[in-house]
């Protein structure tokens, strides 16, 4: 979908105004460009024209009868008239027809006040109708817990049906019946079961489909809007929070704004209540002698923390502190946290939740091509002609990036290769593997060997970039030698994918000119994640796509500011930039700016911190918004490590398991209560704005760091979040200075050259070696802790809207396995291995592959005990997403 050049422009006149628009533009769009708003219901820029509402009739000279401007394309010399009397007459008649059946219940309709039909009625119709017949009345049906339909109000524009099909690819809605008796229904006999993206609610021009969550709580004119960024995944969607006084009413997004262009997912649309959950910590808490928390004032709490920190610093030095921050904080807070840890406390033990996987994507990118960001943008995904998705069920983990992929495939006819454990089975939510040209069904622990297979077919089929062998002979020979040590027989046997499928996929990818690889949590959060990403970069280099425009490797961020955490230096190995922690000049510059000496001790990452805490070297920890006790399995002995600390400070929204171990708990603000910036997965820095006043006595995280530093006599004082951002800009020149579209960095030539000459050799001895984890005979099932579309982390499980869609975890099984075990959906299942046994509910799903069981990580409190903790030797990432288990059916009576 390349931009049209000047030769394709067509000149036309709309209501006397002459304009030039690209060929193929619809008349309604051309009119909008000159400021003529043609009334419409069924037209929407995202959807294909349907011309069913007949509202957009205009007169076009030399054409008989009035034409629908939403389906007529512009032509040279066209003269369009939209304000002549007989066009007005026609609109009046159309509205009279629509209003013949539309109930006059505007006073109780949530759309009343922002309803297209209401506005057009005021503009075009007389207040009386010639229809004396009774209005049609549909029997009211229960639709779903979150989406409410009132079909009497429907104008049958089919926008919702087309959106659900064309944009979301869910196909949950359909028209049923004929003529005026057409109503929008969902296919199933029971209540609506779909992705709950809220798109139908947003796109409905009248009040036929509304949100049940905020029903009757507001009238549109009461709402105050705040444009901010969603916090539920790395996509960085633009959301508009609508509030009435200090009450969150609804969230929506405007078409044409932000990276998501108005599309949202269930988390963004229905998940906003988490911030105002009644369990929020309202006041600072100090633990008493008896182990209970007592409410304290900010002064008491901060003075206690400062006093303890000073004591420990004097007694044991700065290296006795450990700091962990969540990547859900803003850039300003992440920057200030690492400045506090490094500058005020003097410790190099700083880490963030980017450690849980995102560093596995960033570290290889830095070492191979010298960039820490994507070399492509969301627009490049849409424009790509080949996409390789590895280890990501993208529609569930990053739904809006998923929409770009869907758009590329459905509208741009891109070739889509998916390497994913899920099977292409149609379900209630969309499944990206269904759109795939080539699907490689690979078990979640076999991504590594499948990537090796893909590279091997590139080498074996002669798909290597012709210039590469002469440009980098050592690299080519070394990779070939490393790959050749694995035989096709072995690859086919382990991965379960045939050699032909590998070569077809490799052919498909290497025949493209704009090829992108999108890597998800299946790779980043599983053992050997960094190695797999390096291998995929080798694959890009071998196919000659590396460094080409619109090509690149894109690791998907799980948390909204994973990328920002790395760029702000809130990880062990980086200073802000991200610049390696040992970089002399940067250290000098930072010392000068912060007016402190940076600590010299070696940096230690998350897991090393816990190890050292248990060994007694770390005496105090400052944990901001993270809950390692719950997010890591018991075998990691996190709780023991935290209990052995002398002093633990937690800064939290809720009293989590980790916060319960703390000596002092400081109440922090959620994203709706503070200002700042988030950096999304593609490296776009976007502003976050305060929508409501802080809940209780909570304060934004940066304010707490700042206040604490003042009490500790090493003040880092800022008036507002923007001042911190100015300091970030002085450290990272031009940070966040991006235009309407993220500027894409290009791989640094010298780094790539260095990698091709000698850098590739680092880790080459191990990174192509295929190991195989054989299941023990008594634990034949691979249990994967997976993400779910309806939740993100543990924050969303506090949102009442999302809990209505999914309120508990269930172990998901393939039908064939379920049949073998005699399990049906809803049965109790005992999941056990050497670490323990847990009873849970089964859910049989077609898309789960055989011999694999999946459990949503958001509800894994009980099942977490079955997982083991592995720590990556290179990137120190803790892995705990896969384990081997045995499944047995439990009779109801046994439970």
């Amino acid at each position: 979908m390349a931009e049209s050049n000047n030769q394709d422009l067509v000149t036309l006149t709309v209501d006397g105004m002459t304009t030039s628009v690209p060929q193929g533009t619809l008349v309604i769009e051309a009119a909008r460009q000159v400021g003529v708003m043609i009334p419409h219901f069924c037209y929407h820029p995202k959807l294909t024209p349907d011309a069913n509402c007949r509202m957009c009739l205009v007169e076009i000279e030399k054409l008989p009868r009035l034409q629908t401007s939403c389906s007529t394309k512009v032509a040279e010399g066209m003269v369009v008239k939209s304000n002549v009397p007989h066009v007005d007459e026609a609109r009046k008649s159309v509205l009279e027809f629509i209003l013949a059946n539309h109930p006059l219940d505007c006073p109780v309709c949530d759309q009343g006040g922002r309803c297209d039909l209401q506005d057009f009625s005021h503009q075009y119709t007389p207040t009386t109708s010639r229809f004396t017949e009774l209005k049609r009345v549909f029997p009211k049906e229960y639709f779903s817990p979150l989406i409410e339909t009132q079909m009497n109000r429907c104008v049958q524009c089919m926008r919702c049906v087309r959106y659900c099909d064309q944009v979301m690819d869910v196909k949950a809605l359909a028209p049923s019946g004929r003529g005026t008796l057409t109503e929008i229904k969902h296919f199933s006999a029971h209540e609506l079961d779909c992705e709950f993206c809220g798109g139908c609610v947003q796109i409905c021009p009248v009040g036929a489909i509304t949100s049940r969550l905020s029903m009757y709580d507001f009238r549109p004119w009461m709402l105050k809007r705040t444009d901010t960024i969603c916090t539920y995944c790395g996509d960085g969607c633009h959301i508009t929070i609508q509030k009435k006084q200090d009450e969150l009413i609804e969230v929506n997004s405007t078409q044409g704004v932000g990276r998501n262009n108005g599309d949202l997912c269930a988390r963004g649309f229905f998940g906003y209540h988490a911030s105002v959950h009644p369990d929020r910590i309202m006041h600072p808490l100090i633990k008493q002698q008896d182990g209970r928390f007592a409410q304290a004032t900010w002064e008491e709490a901060l003075e206690l923390v400062a006093e303890k920190f000073q004591g420990i610093k004097t007694a044991f030095g700065g290296n006795a502190f450990g700091g962990l921050v969540t990547s859900r904080c803003t850039n300003e807070e992440l920057y200030l946290f690492q400045k506090f840890m490094r500058g005020v406390l003097g410790s190099n033990r700083v880490d963030s939740s980017a450690r849980f996987g995102h560093v596995n994507g960033t570290l290889p990118l830095l070492s191979v091509q010298g960039t820490h960001r994507w070399t492509a943008t969301f627009e490049d995904i849409v424009d790509a002609d080949a996409l390789l998705l590895i280890g990501t069920n993208i529609t569930e983990t990053n739904p809006i990036t998923g929409l770009k992929v869907k758009q590329a495939v459905k509208q741009g006819h891109a070739i889509l290769v998916t390497m994913e454990s899920l099977l292409p089975a149609r379900g209630t939510i969309s499944n990206i593997t269904l759109l795939a040209t080539h699907h490689l069904p690979v078990r979640p622990d076999h991504y590594h060997i499948a990537i090796v297979g893909l590279i091997k077919s590139v080498l074996d089929n002669g798909l290597v970039d012709p210039g590469l062998e002469t440009r980098a002979p050592e690299f080519f020979r070394a990779i070939k030698a490393a790959i050749d040590s694995t035989s096709w027989a072995h690859i086919e046997e382990v991965s379960g994918v045939s050699r032909e499928v590998f070569s077809q996929s490799a052919h498909a990818f290497s025949s493209s000119t704009r090829g992108m690889i999108i890597v998800g949590q299946g790779v980043l959060r599983s053992p050997r994640g960094a190695e797999m990403v390096t291998n995929l970069l080798d694959f890009l280099i071998l196919t000659g796509r590396h460094g080409q425009p619109g090509c690149g490797l894109c690791p998907l961020a799980e948390e909204n500011n994973d990328q920002g955490a790395i760029e702000m230096g809130a990880t062990a190995e980086f200073l802000p930039g991200p610049i390696a922690i040992g970089h002399h000049d940067t250290r000098q510059a930072l010392s000068k700016l912060w007016e402190v000496d940076l600590p010299q001790e070696p940096a230690s990452s998350l897991m090393e911190m816990f190890r050292d805490a248990q060994a007694g070297q770390v005496k105090a920890m400052y944990i901001v918004g993270e809950n390692p006790v719950e997010s890591l399995p018991q075998t990691g002995k996190i709780k023991e490590a935290l209990e052995s600390l002398e002093f633990l400070v937690c800064q939290e929204l809720f009293l989590t398991e980790t916060a319960q171990l703390a000596d002092v708990v400081l109440p922090a603000c959620s994203y709706v209560e503070k200002d700042g910036t988030f950096t999304n997965t593609e490296g776009m820095v976007q502003p976050v704005r305060q929508a409501i006043d802080p809940i209780g006595e909570s304060r934004p995280d940066w304010e707490i760091f700042s206040a604490l530093s003042v009490v500790m006599d090493q003040p880092m004082e800022y008036g507002e979040a923007r001042d911190i951002f100015k300091e970030i800009r002085s450290v990272i020149p031009g940070y966040g200075l991006v235009g309407p579209v993220a500027t894409r960095p290009t791989p640094k030539v010298d780094v790539v050259q260095q990698y091709l000459q000698e850098g590739f050799a680092h880790g080459l001895a191990t990174r192509y070696v295929c190991t195989q984890d054989q299941p023990a005979s008594d634990t034949p099932f691979l249990l994967a802790s997976t993400q779910s579309l309806f939740h993100s982390g543990k924050f969303s499980t506090r949102s009442k809207g999302l809990l209505q869609i999914q309120s508990s975890g269930a172990i998901m099984l393939n039908p064939s396995d379920a049949k073998k075990l005699g399990i049906a959906s809803g049965d109790s299942v005992c999941v056990s291995n050497a670490h323990g046994a847990v009873t849970t509910i089964a859910r049989v799903l077609n898309r789960i592959p055989p011999d694999v069981a999946c459990f949503p990580e958001h509800f894994d409190q009980d099942i977490r005990c079955l997982f083991e903790l592995h720590i990556d030797k290179e990137s120190h990432v803790p892995y705990s997403k896969l384990t081997w288990v045995r499944l047995e059916r439990v009779e109801k009576g046994d439970v």
């Binding site: 219940d105 006073p107 009774l134 229960y142 409410e148 009497n152 009757y216 009238r219």
Partner: protein
Amino acid sequence: MKFGEWVKTLIFYEILMGMKATLTHLLHYKPITLQYPHEKKPLPPNYRGMLALLRYDDETEKCVGCDLCEAACPSRVIQVYSAEVPGEPTKRYAKEYYMDMTRCLFCGQCVDACPVDALGMTQEFEWAVYDKRNLQLNKQQLLAIGDRAFPVREKRIEFQHPNVAYFNVSFGDIPQKDA
């Protein structure tokens, strides 16, 4: 000058005409001052007095909580908190309704705005109070005023007009919305 005009000038005719009303009262003396509160003047039927919330004949509140009165009010007297009727899913009503009568200028725009004629203006005007807080009225107080001022109530019809189709009726097959 004509004779007639000469006579008028002589007897100060214009002044007499101007004083006619005054002089008439001098002859037929009747006091105009009412001895309030012992005497009260009859009010016109469209008198815009104290506001009140009304009920249907079956004691149900007329108000559907549409907030249009709040929007229409020029001096921000009204505050409406709408919600779903407990036990009657999808039916809208005003859970809370407040009027700050200290600000009201009795323009009657709220009454005009009401789509269900749930607001009425009574003939009450004796609302002088010692404490201004007593003029902050809630829904119960406003309904009570309506009850005493409008003893004859409108009949409630589920389907108010065949051409309106459904209007604010409850549907038993829909679960109640979470609070």
